[in-house]
Symmetry: C2
Subunit: 579 residues, 2 copies
């Protein structure tokens, strides 16, 4: 059996719970230790699932990390070795998934475990998994996407195994640390997992709306492994309240919605899996397809930036800003996070973060700033640097799917940036300049854009993750080309549906009364199809223009937000009008 | 010989001066009286011109109007009767043009002669011209376009004769009363003359730049009849300083530029015409073609409203304005003209004039307002009424080519308005509504626009004179359709190149902080292709937006006007930026 022959071609069936099967035998040790103490039991459980029809069996290694194993004085390598050997001993025409659950400690910023520590625990596990012959890795039952990211990175950087990843959601449609379905998809697809989905916590009856969202937003094969309903404690045993028939009926509903991979979680047994195996033969399989969302996210908030508009706050950038430069030099994090908070309050939906001060450790400052800002606010960030190491580390430690500012049409730039974008998952601002500088004509800028798009594709990065910047120059210097910028914007929007950004305030450089030029240009650019205006959110004129645009462009439905912001001014207005 | 076989098909040759030929004979009476006193002389002059090759000879009737003839106690009808009979007596294969010069009194507002009095003088002449057998009417040597308009209207309303019209220009490229070439073309083409052009005052050597403009802007066959240079007084005789060879060489240059009709004016004789007749056989004829300018004008200022943008000031409209309503009722012209002056100062380039107050004599007030406003300011007006009589009279007494506000897609409206537009020459705002009201969808509004365009064409009115209004409704009421308004605007601009107008401030009705919605919508609409924003020019925000737009859209070249307006604010700005 070969994963690539199955994936997104037919329903893949996982096994059910390991724990519940062990519990049946009334054994009360750490389940992972049974790989050493009672291999026979584990072997028999695998065997039952294989006989029930599972395509993939999951090793008994959910908690097999050196944090959890520490007090038992046993190494994860040994547990995983035995677990895989057991699975292999009964393997027929089925695949073996190395099961990896959370480490069991809270990761930063809520906990004390660092991203790197988490990474190291997982690294031992995934290396062992590959070494002893697992066919794929299943990260499952994660609540914290940041921890999951560290695990996936450890697998990507240390093995060649396919990666499946599932998270566990509460009734409120979020994970314990606040990640929603869209955000999970955004981050996991950025990391290029082979399958993603949800498991545990809820029964299949409570998963319908989550599955609807998965099917709507995921371009990656979708896994669903539900519990057998809610647990009930009877005579010291945990019983789950959905029997195999009910479970089967509910799961069939989910399969009909368009998921690709099924299996069981807590409370399910080979009886459940056998029924699913039967059901999957009766339900038409729908492959997942590319949804082409241009997602960016923090750990809890995701935008499709191709829709509507999203304001990028430009002010965490020391260029020409004395006080900020000083704060960066002094590592005055409070100054930086205040700037972040203020911009969010003013209406920024994404924050550019640039630490480009000469002679400082930009790399360190970028990581620190990202972490400190993400502690306090939940909007996505744009990592802004000319240094590839800074960009790499920024993306590594960022919790979510960021924007990178920027790549350009130079060969060197693309060779440096694109592999990093592909590895971590990010959107990237593409400046339409190249070795010859900024072309004077829009035709040439558009040619550069096309070249960037084609080159990105060779790295496996598609148009949906590119944001083009056709470069606003000062109207006082290049009046003719400036007007072409907007025509080009409008043209590429209609013709190529590119995502676009513009640094709006450049337009007025060198002229008096800059704010009226800026706000007028902003409105024109939005009408021409600008997605991501980079603006100074402390300018009330700019914010007023955005708020008005959202009303006029039918984004602020029924003018609700607009009225809530401006209604105190209403009476005065009406008075003025009767003049 | 038939005019329609000649016009715009080959060079048409007029005769030369009548006065100079008479002067040769040392006769010092009123030339027109010679039709009675010395028909032989006039006959011999016509004969010489016919022998020289003229296609059209001009009757000896330049001053034959009852104002000039009053003191001679002779009626214009008699002079014209004799003049045409003389011309007919020598007619060979040539046409006879009834020559009509200015009345000889200043017309209102500079003089005391009313438009109607002027009309009546001309009416007697043109009726006589047709009655006694002239083939066409030549209005020539006019300085005042308003007087010329009264003449052309008298000819259109009382005869079926073709109309040729020429005006006389000074070195400053304007007529004595300030009309430039573009304005002359705009008004005369609006009145549907069969040929238009320039004559007298200048020699052909000084006419090159005027002819360049004629060729650039006229869609009507172009007449040029230059003087034989500047007059010189020798021995009590007037001598002209360009001889027939020089005259011929200069005129050939003008012919090569693309004029269609030539002839001589003061100082030219049959010798000059003979040479032109020879020359025209050697020069390739270029027919005039439709230039498709969307011209509107006052008597001295013309815009092509399809280019760039032009602000229509909305405030001379009593709807919802108590004070203006009162002023109209009281015929307080000072209040109205002050409103006009103020709007022009604020930046209005066109003024809407609406006198719609119930129970007043709207017709009288409209004529009076137009006349009083035109006395003081020189920008084009937009005549705004729902009453066809008011529109008809407004157009009749307006000095220039106005905009009419408005026609709509109702059958009645089009049947009433289009004939008036065709007769006087005007652009017209076309509201995209019909018998069923304002359609909710933009598709249907566009269908109405197409129907209006097609119906207009049946009346001989082409797209260039139509201005479409896709009707801005309050975003608070029709948010979805409002956004479509801008998409439609953009679409019709790209697809049909329609001229468009919008009453911008309707958009914010019922919402707080209307000015930010209005100014943002204005910028968006301009970007989408709006030509003629109807705005309240007393709103600084709107004017700032327009001024900024003109910079950003490369209309205000090198930001010159912008800098001149806002530069005093520059220093303060720079201070703010260093914060
Ligand atoms: Zn579970
Ligand atoms: Zn003359
Ligand atoms: Zn003349």
């Amino acid at each position: 059996m070969n994963l690539s022959n199955l994936l997104n071609k037919k329903f893949i069936l996982f096994d059910g719970a390991m724990g519940s099967m062990i519990q049946k035998e009334n054994i009360n040790t750490l389940p992972e230790l049974l790989n050493l103490e009672n291999p026979h039991l584990i072997r028999s459980i695998h065997k039952k699932y294989i006989e029930a029809g599972a395509d993939i069996i999951t090793t008994n290694t959910f908690g097999a990390n050196n944090h959890k194993l520490k007090k038992y004085n046993v190494d994860s390598d040994l547990i995983i070795k035995n677990a895989i050997e057991i699975a292999k001993s009964v393997q027929k025409n089925n695949l073996i998934a190395l099961d990896i659950g959370p480490i069991g400690r809270m990761i930063e910023p809520m906990g004390k475990m660092t991203f790197d520590e988490s990474y190291e625990f997982f690294k031992k596990q995934v290396i062992a998994g590959e070494k002893y012959g697992a066919d794929l890795i299943l990260f499952e039952t994660f609540s914290d996407i940041y921890e999951l990211k560290s695990g996936i990175l450890s697998a990507k950087e240390n093995t060649k195994l396919p990666i499946f990843a599932t998270m566990t959601f509460s009734d409120d449609k979020r994970t314990f640390t606040g990640t929603d379905i869209k955000t999970m998809i955004s981050v996991l697809e950025g990391l290029n997992v082979n399958a993603l989905g949800i498991n545990c916590s809820l029964g299949p009856d409570k998963m319908e709306s989550l599955v609807d969202k998965l099917v709507k937003y995921s371009s990656t094969p979708i896994i669903v492994q539900a519990n057998a309903g809610l647990p009930d404690y009877q005579n010291g045993n945990t019983i789950y309240n959905i029997n195999s028939n009910e479970y089967n009926e509910h799961t069939k509903k989910l399969m009909n919605k368009g998921i690709q991979i099924i299996g069981g979680c807590c409370g399910t047994t080979d009886e459940y899996i056998r029924k699913l195996n039967n059901s999957r033969k009766q339900i038409p399989f729908k492959p997942v397809f590319d949804k082409n969302y241009s997602f960016i996210s923090s750990y809890s908030k995701t935008y499709d930036v191709s829709k509507n508009i999203h304001i990028i706050g430009e002010r965490i950038n020391p260029t020409g800003k004395k006080k900020l430069r000083q704060a960066i030099i002094e590592e005055n994090m409070e100054y930086i996070t205040n700037l972040a908070l203020k911009q969010k309050e003013e209406g920024a939906e994404i924050l550019d973060v640039n630490m480009g001060v000469p002679k400082i450790d930009e790399n360190k400052l970028m990581i620190k700033s990202i972490k400190e800002i993400q502690k306090l606010i939940d909007i996505p960030l744009q990592i802004d640097s000319t240094n590839i190491e800074v960009i790499d580390n920024g993306l590594r430690y960022y919790n979510g799917k960021a924007i990178i500012n920027s790549v350009n049409g130079k060969k060197n730039s693309m060779e440096e940036i694109f592999p990093v974008i592909k590895k971590y998952g990010a959107m990237v601002i593409c400046l339409t300049l190249n070795e010859d500088g900024i072309p004077e004509t829009m035709e040439k800028r558009l040619q550069i854009a096309k070249n960037i798009e084609n080159t990105a594709l060779k790295y496996g990065i598609s148009k949906k993750d590119l944001i083009f910047d056709f470069l606003v120059l000062a109207v006082s210097a290049q009046q003719n080309e400036l007007y072409n910028t907007l025509s080009t914007l409008s043209y590429v929007k209609n013709t190529y549906n590119y995502n676009t950004t513009l640094g709006v305030s450049n337009v007025s450089f060198g002229l008096p009364n800059r704010k009226i030029l800026n706000r007028t240009f902003l409105a024109m650019a939005l009408q021409a199809g600008l997605n991501l205006p980079i603006i100074n959110t402390s300018s009330q004129d700019m914010i007023d223009t955005i708020n008005s645009y959202k009303v006029l462009a039918n984004i602020d439905k029924d003018c609700k937000k607009y009225i809530s912001i401006y209604s105190e001014q209403k009476e005065e207005e009406i008075k003025n009008e009767t003049l």
